[in-house]
Symmetry: C2
Subunit: 208 residues, 2 copies
DNA sequence: TTGTCAATTGTCAGAGGCTGTCACTAGCCT
DNA sequence: AGGCTAGTGACAGCCTCTGACAATTGACAA
């Protein structure tokens, strides 16, 4: 971010994203048009599409940040940990430090607000689930490498990651449904739900 | 399907669906416009939207049939069976009899072809995953009732169904990726993958 | 059979998401 | 200073989808 040009671009993108999130939370996803967002930031609608592939991408940009953050946490887990343990710790850790990543763009409230918008907007929920599936594929590869397995030959990495992801999705959903919109509530739910299923999957794969 | 009117409507819908699926498989989802489909059936594009909520719904209509078929199989499972066992048997059973439901509209090849189209078209895959999530919610309620539990109080029905669904998704994905596009291959994969995870979840919930 | 009612359809207009093009401006670099 | 290039605005246009209105066609009773 050296030149004036780059700084200007960054500012435009941030303004676009911040405004988009604010409007989505306030008036809903469908109730907000790209023109609305562009007008509020005082750029042409065409410019919006130069920064985001579509309205959808702007709506999921914050989630993307969080996912990248989580993925980083997963990769940094020591290889000695069993896969499910590593995933569990990475989740909890990444939530504890989420604000560091998100607050540079929007307040944390906006992140939580967008979460509800996503969960309650069919087309956004769909896109979100698809991205989750992609993320799971990535994580399965990471896990396979940790364990010295071949993702395409051995189904266990994909299965374990998919099962873990399923538990996380139920957790998210219940968290959204219950009024408790705090990161602490999320922590508690995560731990409780994982303990329900986790032990069943904690076998040691390496003694095959 | 008594009156002439109803028969005509049914024929229009079938023609629309059949044509849409053919074109999607042949030219891809994005490469086919609603106008193309309507023109081929010789109705106005407006009429298409009177039969399907959107292009997407036409693309997922066959999946919808299959899901309804599976759901029926689940509900008909005897209550004595443990949840995971019931789900497993319902899946295998509904695949063995899938042709009975699908072939009244399109040949089975078309169904398998659409499956690949869905898996390889981002927006369709997203919609498909969202519908899966909805289906899982329904099944969780069915399971909870079988076991005499409250879906909202006890997380176990949702968790078990979500985990089961996750395994099925991995199965589907691997089945699509491997060249073996037969229902027999699917059966084998399903059994193999479920045996990898199933035992861990087969606990008896009623002795709580 | 015929006239009336209701259901189905086509046409038209238009919003909204998204893309290609082209000229213009503003920052950058020598 | 002047050329170069990235970023932008202003169209024009395609596609999905919706509302409104009129025309057509089947249903049904007199």
């Amino acid at each position: 971010m050296e030149t004036l040009r780059e700084r200007k671009k960054q500012r435009t993108r941030d303004a676009l994203l911040r405004t988009a999130v604010e409007m989505f939370v306030a008036r809903g996803y469908d109730g907000t048009t790209v023109d609305d967002i562009a007008d509020a930031v005082d750029v042409s609608a065409r410019t919006f599409f130069r920064y985001f592939a579509g309205k959808e991408e702007a709506a999921l940009a914050l989630q993307e940040l969080a996912v990248a953050h989580y993925l980083r946490a997963v990769r940094e887990r020591p290889a000695e940990e069993a896969p499910v343990v590593a995933l569990r710790r990475a989740v909890l850790e990444s939530w504890d430090t989420l604000h560091e990543v998100v607050e540079s763009v929007v307040p944390v409230e906006a992140y939580l607000g967008m979460h509800r918008v996503i969960e309650s907007t069919p087309v956004l929920l769909a896109a979100h689930l698809r991205r989750n599936a992609e993320t799971e594929d990535t994580i399965a590869r990471v896990v396979a490498e940790r364990e010295g397995l071949d993702v395409d030959a051995d189904p266990r990495p994909r299965l374990a990651v998919a099962v873990f992801g399923a538990v996380m999705r139920v957790t998210e959903q219940q968290w959204s449904a219950c009024g408790d919109l705090s990161l602490e509530g999320m922590r508690a739910l995560t731990i409780a739900y994982l303990e329900q299923v986790g032990p069943a999957l904690a076998g040691n794969w390496r003694t095959d």
